[in-house]
């Protein structure tokens, strides 16, 4: 169970991006988080695995408080949080198999990592997951030779290699064409139930959010203004979330620059 309590994130002295957010995700539910760019979706997700440092508040994953972890404790906690990125963030010059096995980097030692001597069980799991999503035939191909949809599958498998207790997906379909992005959404939905894994998906496509997820959370200006089932997500909710903000499509490029500036170094 993932529980976020009164999460605040402020960059420098600016107005807070997240203003006391509360969210509870249980079981294997698939939750989509919608909101215009700058609403704080990406920041919220990145606070969970601490790619962004929260200013205050509490985030617990199955009883472990994540906000104050440091060093080795933080790395051990991150192993339990899988993440899928908008730009895939694959290791382009390495093979698909190396990318997938990189999901185990939190578990193996440095020697095993550098020499690629991963435990047999990891290799079995890698092949099993790659077969499940249909990329096993690319194991020895370089990651940048794959198409967008295939690359995102590698990203998903890498995250699942961590044996995560929660999966975060930061606009996983925003760089994909409409059909491929539906396939990825379907994949995330079915993996969530197969592995009984809670999944949080930041998404701009409201139609896909309603189709493939069982709960929608709407953010605006760092506050949660909607939390409910897709059937309750009506025109009013949509206006409340996006109202007064033009063309949510523009968010794609905005989200990229936003990612850059978040670097905690």
């Amino acid at each position: 169970m993932l529980e976020i309590k009164n999460l605040v994130k402020r960059y420098g002295r600016d107005k807070a991006v997240l203003e006391g957010l509360d969210l509870k995700v249980e079981g294997n539910s698939v939750v989509s988080i919608v909101g215009a760019s700058g609403a704080g979706k990406s920041t919220m997700l990145r606070c969970i695995n601490r790619l962004v440092e929260p200013t205050s508040g509490s985030i617990t994953l199955n009883g472990t408080e994540l906000v104050n972890l440091k060093g080795g404790d933080l790395r051990r906690a991150r192993r339990k949080i899988g993440m899928v990125f908008q730009g895939f963030n694959l290791l382009d010059r390495l093979t698909v198999m190396e990318n997938v096995l990189a999901g185990r980097l939190g578990y193996v030692n440095l020697y095993q990592a550098i020499t690629r001597r991963y435990p047999q069980a990891d290799i079995e799991r890698a092949f099993m997951l790659m077969e499940r999503v249909g990329i096993a035939q690319y194991a020895n191909k370089r990651a940048d030779e794959l198409s967008g949809g295939e690359r995102q599958r590698v990203g998903v498998v890498r995250a699942l290699m961590q044996e995560p207790e929660v999966l975060l997906a930061d606009e996983p379909t925003a760089s994909l064409d409409p059909r491929t992005s539906e396939q990825i959404m379907m994949l995330l939905q079915s993996l969530a139930s197969e592995l009984s894994l809670p999944v949080l998906i930041n998404i701009h496509n409201v139609a896909q959010a309603k189709t493939y997820t069982e709960r929608i959370v709407g953010l605006r200006h760092g506050k949660m203004i909607f939390d409910g089932a897709p059937t309750d997500f009506n025109k009013d909710a949509l206006d409340a979330i996006y109202g007064g903000i033009e063309a949510p499509d523009e968010a794609v490029s905005d989200a990229r620059t936003e990612e850059r500036t978040h670097d905690p170094a």
């Binding site: 790395r75 980097l105 440095l110 670097d263």
Partner: protein, 270 residues
């Protein structure tokens, strides 16, 4: 699209705006530069009498150098063998050591105190010409190839380290974030997300550095750091101008060859 005034007024002209807008400053700088040149030439102690005395001496040296004499080719081969050894060893050591210093000197992967140390090492090793460093090392470890190797290693660390650090600062940060998100440690992140991204650049720089070290090994030899430079200096010292000229010609040939090879390899790898 329409130009309403075109037929009523004179044809409009356009000139590129001057680099310095203010005419006073523009011509002032020009006058100052010319005045300085005149003053500098006037005040430097050129002794025309000595220069004219020297010209016949130069002619004697040049005529003594022709035809170049390759009879003592064994000395030449020994010198070149040593130069190659110096260049190759220094390149290997320098390129290898430049990696940790480059990581230290890259702002995005090194914490502030480490960054300052890394930058300092690179700046110091770049601030002196190899010849000056060679003089210091010859004084420290004595004549011979060891001084040459140490000099060129330091030179390589400075050059390759600086360029690699800049390359690290420009990597795709998303890959680093992805590795951090898996719970990977600092070194594992470096080996998976950083090094593969700078690898092509690293190979190219190493080739260039080998080329450059070969050239520099001839120069540092002149101050006593071993290699073909020392052979050349000895030949001059014994007034063997024909042998010295033979050495110079062979150096040119070898540099041309190594430049060709390294250019070809870099093109293949890019």
């Amino acid at each position: 699209m329409t130009r309403p005034d075109a037929h009523t007024t004179a044809p409009r002209t356009w000139k590129k705006p001057p680099f310095i807008a203010n005419p006073l400053i523009r011509y002032g700088i020009l006058i100052l530069a010319v005045a300085y040149l005149v003053w500098a030439f006037g005040s430097l102690p050129f002794n025309w009498a000595r220069i004219s005395e020297g010209l016949p001496r130069a002619a004697r040296i040049f005529s003594g150098g022709f035809p170049p004499n390759l009879e003592r080719y064994e000395l030449l081969l020994t010198g070149f063998k040593e130069s190659f050894q110096i260049a190759i060893l220094a390149t290997l050591l320098g390129v290898f050591l430049s990696i940790p210093f480059a990581v230290m000197a890259a702002r995005n992967v090194a914490p502030m105190p480490i960054y300052l140390v890394g930058r300092a090492v690179i700046i110091i090793s770049r601030s002196f010409h190899p010849v000056i460093v060679a003089i210091l090392f010859v004084a420290a470890v004595g004549f011979g190839p060891l001084a040459g190797i140490l000099t060129l290693t330091l030179y390589s660390i400075g050059f390759v380290g600086k360029l690699l650090a800049e390359e690290i600062e420009e990597i795709d940060w998303g890959q680093v974030e992805a590795m951090r998100a898996t719970g990977a440690g600092y070194l594992a992140t470096l080996f998976y997300a950083v090094f593969p991204q700078i690898l092509p650049r690293q190979v190219g720089l190493s080739m260039y550095q080998l080329d450059s070290n070969l050239r520099a090994s001839a120069v540092v030899g002149i101050v006593g750091a071993g290699g073909i430079g020392s052979t050349l200096m000895n030949a001059f010292g014994r007034y063997d101008y024909d042998f010295a000229f033979a050495i110079l010609l062979v150096i040119i040939a070898v540099i041309l060859l190594s430049e060709g090879i390294s250019g070809w390899v870099r093109k293949k790898i890019w």
